[in-house]
C-alpha cells in the first residue's frame, strides 16, 4: 500500500512537471506581453509585471511611432493587423485547395481502377521527401513570370503542391478502412460514380476530413520558409514572417515581440483545443 501511495506522489509530480514544461514558455510570453519595456529591462528583470499594461498590444496594432525606437524594433500602424489578415486568407485558401485536390486524388487512387494508378500514387508520396530548398529558386522564377510573386494566391498554389501528398496519404488510409458497401448500394440504386462519391463517400469521410483540415490549418498557419522567400511586402506577408522582423539586431522590444507571438498562437491554440480528440487520433494513427 505504501508503494501505491509513493507511485501516486510520483505521478502527481510528473503531471505537474508536464504542465509546467508545456505551458511555461507560453506563460512567460503572456507575462512579457503585459509588461513594459522598463520592466523587461530592469536589472534583475521583472518576471511578473507589477502593473500589467496593454501598451505592447496597442503598439502592435497602432504602431510604435518614433518615440519608442529604443527597443530597436518599430512597427507601423496596421502592419501587424494586415499580416494576421494575410495569414487568415492564406490558411483558408490553401486548406480548401489542398482538401479539394487531395480528397479527389485519394478517392481515385483508392477506389477507381485506371492505368498508372499505383505508379502515380507512389510517385506523389515520393515528392514529400524533396526539400523546399531544391525547388524554391525555380519556384520564385515561375511565380515572377506568372506575376504571382508576393501574392496570397501564389503562396497558396505552392503550399497546395507541397502539402497535398501528405493529405492524400491520410485520406487514402482513411478510405481504405471505410466500408465500401454504402457506395456500392448507391451505385446499384443508379448513382453514377461521381454522384456516389459526392453524396455517399464524402459524408462518410467527414470526421477524417475534419481532422485533416485541422492539421492542415495548423501546418499552413505555421508555414515560414516558403512565405519568407516568396513574399516581400505586407501585400501578402503572413504573421510568421512579419514577427521575425520584430527581432532587433542589437536589442529587441520584448513586450511587442511577445504580444505578436501571443496573437499568432491564439488561432492554432483554439483549433487544437477544440478538435483535440480528433487531432490526437489522426496523429497517433497516421504517424
Amino acid at each position: 500500500m505504501k508503494r501505491a501511495a509513493l507511485l501516486q506522489v510520483l505521478q502527481a509530480t510528473l503531471v505537474t512537471a508536464i504542465i509546467l514544461w508545456s505551458l511555461g514558455p507560453i506563460i512567460v510570453g503572456l507575462l512579457t506581453s503585459f509588461s513594459t519595456e522598463t520592466d523587461v529591462r530592469s536589472v534583475p528583470p521583472i518576471w511578473v509585471p507589477p502593473n500589467p499594461s496593454l501598451t505592447a498590444y496597442q503598439e502592435l496594432f497602432q504602431g510604435t511611432g518614433a518615440a519608442s525606437t529604443i527597443g530597436g524594433t518599430t512597427t507601423q500602424e496596421g502592419a501587424f493587423g494586415r499580416s494576421v489578415w494575410n495569414s487568415v486568407t492564406l490558411t483558408t485558401v490553401s486548406t480548401i485547395g489542398i482538401l479539394l485536390v487531395a480528397i479527389c486524388a485519394a478517392y481515385a487512387f483508392t477506389r477507381l481502377r485506371f492505368n498508372g494508378n499505383k505508379v502515380f500514387y507512389w510517385a506523389l508520396l515520393a515528392t514529400m521527401i524533396i526539400p523546399v530548398f531544391t525547388i524554391v529558386v525555380t519556384l520564385f522564377q515561375l511565380m515572377a513570370s506568372a506575376h504571382l510573386i508576393d501574392t496570397t494566391v501564389g503562396i497558396s498554389l505552392v503550399l497546395i503542391a507541397t502539402q497535398t501528398p501528405l493529405a492524400t496519404w491520410q485520406f487514402h488510409n482513411q478510405l481504405r478502412d471505410l466500408s465500401p458497401e454504402p457506395e456500392q448500394a448507391a451505385l446499384i440504386d443508379g448513382c453514377t460514380r461521381w454522384q456516389a462519391f459526392v453524396r455517399v463517400v464524402i459524408p462518410q469521410m467527414s470526421s477524417g476530413i475534419a481532422a485533416v483540415s485541422a492539421i492542415l490549418m495548423l501546418a499552413v498557419w505555421g508555414e515560414f520558409l516558403i512565405p519568407l522567400l516568396l513574399t516581400s511586402t505586407l501585400r501578402s506577408k503572413p504573421v510568421t514572417v512579419l514577427i521575425t522582423e520584430f527581432i532587433g539586431k542589437y536589442t529587441t522590444n520584448y513586450p511587442l515581440l511577445a504580444a505578436a507571438g501571443i496573437i499568432a498562437l491564439l488561432p492554432p491554440a483554439i483549433v487544437v483545443l477544440v478538435l483535440n480528440r480528433r487531432i490526437r487520433g489522426m496523429l497517433s494513427g497516421a504517424s
Binding site: 526539400p131 530548398f133 525547388i135
Partner: protein, 297 residues
C-alpha cells in the same frame, strides 16, 4: 448485354479516375518536379552569373566544392549533434510522459490537451516565446541562474559553442515532443492490460514491468518515433532563424543551404547541398516507412 455494360463502366471508371487525379498531377509536375529538374540540372552547371549567362557543365564540381567548405562541414556536425540530442531527449522524455499519462485518471483529457499545445504552435512562435528566456541582458535564465548562484556573470547562451546548439535543441524538442508522446501512447494502448495483471500476480513491480513488458512491446513505436524525430531534426530551421539567425555556431545543414543559396546568392552550390540533404532525408524516410509497416504488422 452485360459484358458491354461492364466494359463501359470500366472505361468510365478509368476516365473519372484520370479526371480526379489530373489536378494533383498538374500541381506536382509544375510546382515540384519541374523546379526539381531545373535545380538538379543547375547543380551540375557553373553559376550562370560567372559564365555570362552561358551553360557550362561542371560535373560534380559544385558538390565537391560545397562539401569542402569548412562552414558546410561544421554545419553537418552541428546537424548530427542536433539530431542525436533531440532524438535522445524526445524518446527518453516521451517514454516517461507516455507511461505517466497512459492510464486513466481524473483530468487526463485536460492534461493531454495541454500536452499537445506546443506542437500546434508555429515553430517561429516557439522561438519567439523562448527568446526572452535566453536573452543575455534581460534573460530569465540568466536571472534564475544568478539567483541560485550557479553562475556569477550573465552568459551569452546562444553565442556559446556548446549551449547555443543545446538550447536550440531544447526549443525544438518542446515543439516535437507532443507528437512523440502521442506515438508512444498509441503504442501503449496496443499492449493488453492482462499482461500487466498476470505479471503483477507473479510479483513483478512497475520497474520490472517496464523493463520486461512495456519496453519490448513498445519497440515498434520507438522505431517510428526515432525516424520521425530524426527527419524533423534534420530539417530544423525556423527555431534557429528566430533565436540566432545564420550565426556560425548554431548553423544547421539546412541553415547552411539557406545561407549559401540566398545570403550568398550561390544557387548552384546551394542546390547541390540541398540535394545531398534530400538523399539523407530519403534514407531516413525509407526507414520510417519500413518501421511503420513493422509497427502495423
Amino acid at each position: 448485354m452485360p459484358p458491354v455494360a461492364m466494359q463501359t463502366t470500366t472505361v468510365e471508371e478509368a476516365k473519372l479516375g484520370w479526371k480526379m487525379v489530373i489536378p494533383v498531377i498538374l500541381f506536382a509536375t509544375i510546382l515540384i518536379l519541374y523546379p526539381l529538374t531545373r535545380g538538379l540540372l543547375s547543380s551540375f552547371q557553373a553559376d550562370r552569373s560567372l559564365t555570362g549567362g552561358r551553360v557550362k557543365w561542371v560535373g560534380l564540381r559544385n558538390y565537391s566544392e560545397v562539401l569542402q567548405d569548412p562552414a558546410t562541414r561544421a554545419a553537418f556536425l552541428h546537424s548530427v549533434q542536433y539530431t542525436l540530442t533531440a532524438v535522445i531527449l524526445e524518446v527518453a522524455l516521451g517514454l516517461v510522459i507516455a507511461v505517466t499519462l497512459h492510464r486513466a485518471f481524473r483530468g487526463r483529457g485536460v492534461i493531454l490537451a495541454i500536452l499537445i499545445l506546443p506542437w500546434a504552435l508555429p515553430s517561429v512562435v516557439s522561438g519567439v516565446l523562448w527568446r526572452r528566456i535566453f536573452d543575455p541582458d534581460n534573460g530569465l535564465l540568466n536571472d534564475f541562474l544568478l539567483r541560485v548562484h550557479l553562475i556569477n556573470l550573465p552568459q551569452v547562451w546562444l553565442a556559446n559553442e556548446f549551449w547555443g546548439r543545446t538550447f536550440i535543441t531544447v526549443v525544438h524538442v518542446w515543439g516535437v515532443l507532443p507528437l512523440i508522446c502521442l506515438i508512444f501512447l498509441a503504442g501503449l494502448q496496443g499492449i493488453p492490460e492482462e499482461v500487466y495483471n498476470a505479471s503483477a500476480v507473479d510479483g513483478a513491480g512497475p520497474l520490472r514491468q517496464f523493463r520486461f513488458i512495456t519496453f519490448p512491446l513498445l519497440k515498434p513505436a520507438v522505431s517510428v518515433a526515432l525516424t520521425v524525430g530524426t527527419i524533423l531534426s534534420i530539417s530544423i530551421f525556423d527555431e534557429i532563424y528566430v533565436l540566432n539567425g545564420t550565426a556560425l555556431n548554431t548553423r544547421s545543414i539546412v541553415m547552411q543551404v539557406y545561407t549559401v543559396t540566398f545570403k550568398e546568392a550561390d544557387f548552384a552550390h546551394g542546390t547541390a547541398l540541398a540535394l545531398i540533404v534530400a538523399v539523407i532525408t530519403a534514407a531516413f524516410a525509407t526507414l520510417y516507412i519500413l518501421s511503420l509497416r513493422r509497427a502495423a504488422a
